[in-house]
């Protein structure tokens, strides 16, 4: 569904993405993991067209997305830190996005109810806590029933209850055959959601594997343990 071909991106002298080649298919739930500053968010932002790659191409349903915008109709994006105009209220933000999208499809307002956002419609964005802002971001990402969901650190800052609601919602959407892309540091949270894993380091893709395959080859049951085993092996190989 989404194909990245030889993506390179430099911020000044810093090479953030280096020859990234990836393929994401519908129906998968893919976790993008790696240390801080390894280029996860830049990768996501280039899929969204917010960061323009220096070279390479990104295909969405076999069409290049560079300099296009219509394809974003099919993407729901939840940013790592949602930044919204301070003086607008939750209700106004949601109404504004609806107005901008002008979508005639049925809206998915499950999360508005689940997070009880409709009860604080007139709260201004600047008065919200980080967690509530995340709830608004999540709601907006799911609102238009997009085929692709891109979630940047979705559960960071959410309380256990809210993060459980969000996880259930993600699983539900995955079962509908949507492509879901998640970045996260909390490997333990990912266990029952994801089908594939991508590990990035210093702007390069280290590996991209199926979860079952990964667990089998390492003989672990938990993703976090499997990953740390692989990393230990790698550093061991480098030492010798």
């Amino acid at each position: 569904m989404i194909t990245l071909q030889n993506i390179n991106k430099k911020f000044g002298k810093l090479q953030v993405l280096q020859n990234v080649n990836l393929k994401f298919n519908a129906g998968e739930c893919i976790a993008l993991i790696g240390p801080n500053g390894c280029g996860k968010t830049t990768l996501i932002k280039s899929i969204l067209g917010m960061v323009l790659p220096d070279s390479g191409d990104i295909l969405f349903n076999k069409e290049s997305i560079l300099r296009k915008f219509e394809y974003r109709n099919n993407i729901g994006y939840m940013p790592q830190i949602g930044r919204y105009p301070d003086h607008m209220t939750i209700g106004q933000i949601i109404a504004m996005i609806k107005q901008i999208r002008n979508s005639k499809d049925i809206l998915d307002e499950d999360l508005i109810k689940a997070f009880k956002l409709d009860k604080m419609d007139d709260k201004q964005m600047r008065t919200l806590s980080g967690g509530t802002t995340q709830k608004v971001s999540a709601t907006l990402a799911f609102l238009f029933n997009p085929d692709v969901l891109i979630l940047d650190e979705p559960t960071a800052g959410l309380d256990p209850l809210a993060s459980e609601i969000l996880k259930e919602k993600i699983i539900k959407e995955k079962e509908k055959g949507k492509l879901i892309l998640i970045t996260s540091h909390l490997l333990s949270e990912l266990d029952d959601m994801i089908t594939q894993i991508i590990f990035m380091q210093e702007g390069k893709v280290h590996f991209h594997r199926n979860i079952n395959e990964l667990l089998e080859s390492t003989g672990e049951i938990k993703i976090s343990k499997a990953i740390s085993k692989i990393l230990k092996q790698k550093s061991h190989e480098q030492d010798h």
């Binding site: 932002k45 105009p85 504004m96 999208r101």
Partner: protein, 255 residues
């Protein structure tokens, strides 16, 4: 009307700074007409006030507004909207708001007290000058990511056009006083939108007689219909070129 322009415009019109700007313009305009006994003198007073405050408020307010909308821009970018459209809508919203403020504040007293060619000229130039400085604000905003630097650049633009440019022209005039530079001066004027507006209005007030030989040359050039069209065309170029550069940069910007 475009949905984003509507959102931006409504947001700006709610802003208290724009309201007080309108109020101050109205106060200054009504005051100048009330203090002077004939409308030509009143117009001259307003001219100086307008050529000083309108650019300053337009460029500063727009620059700060743009920096404060960075969140809004980011939010819009993840939606299916063309990049260019976001930038153009912001420009349209800000320009319409500044022009509206000018028309409500200074336009009404102008139409009532000086309903002649010079009044209309003032109205037109005021609107164009507002848009020119909104456009320069977009340029200074895209030149740097840092808010303080961007506002600094905006203030430099204003200082240059409102104060430094005139000083430079005076300097040139004195340095080359022995040479026939009057015609060249006409060309130099095109380099400053504020001077273009000022000369147009002065010519319509028949004050050019007081400006000596240079004034006569100006009258010869800017006083004709072609001169009028050219000077308005130049003002529109002053809107289009900075904004066009900023659109191109915005299209390539990483957010």
């Amino acid at each position: 009307m475009n949905r984003i322009i509507k959102i931006v415009l409504l947001d700006i019109l709610k802003n208290k700074i724009v309201l007080s700007y309108t109020f101050v313009l109205a106060l200054l305009s009504w005051g100048s007409f009330g203090l002077e006994d004939n409308s030509a003198k009143g117009l001259l007073t307003i001219l100086n006030v307008i050529l000083f405050t309108v650019p300053l408020v337009s460029i500063l307010f727009s620059t700060i507004y743009l920096y404060n909308s960075s969140e809004f821009i980011e939010l819009l970018l993840s939606q299916p909207i063309r990049r260019k459209k976001i930038w153009i809508s912001l420009f349209a919203g800000l320009s319409i708001a500044m022009v509206l403020a000018f028309l409500l504040g200074a336009g009404i007293p102008l139409v009532i007290n000086a309903p002649d060619a010079s009044g209309v000229m003032m109205l037109l130039s005021g609107c164009l000058i507002s848009a020119v400085f909104v456009s320069l604000a977009f340029l200074s905003c895209i030149l740097t990511r840092d808010k303080a630097k961007g506002i600094g650049v905006a203030i430099m633009f204003w200082m240059y056009f409102a104060i430094l440019f005139d000083a430079l022209v005076l300097f040139l005039l004195f340095q080359f006083a022995e040479y026939p530079i009057e015609e060249a001066m006409v060309g130099v004027t095109a380099l400053s939108p504020i001077d273009l507006a000022r000369i147009q209005i002065l010519l319509h007030l028949d004050q050019s007689a007081m400006m000596g030989y240079t004034g006569a040359i100006f009258k010869d050039f800017f006083g004709t219909t072609i001169g009028l069209i050219i000077s308005f065309f130049l003002l529109i170029l002053w809107i289009a070129i900075p904004f066009f550069i900023s659109v191109r940069k915005f299209n390539k910007k990483d957010l």
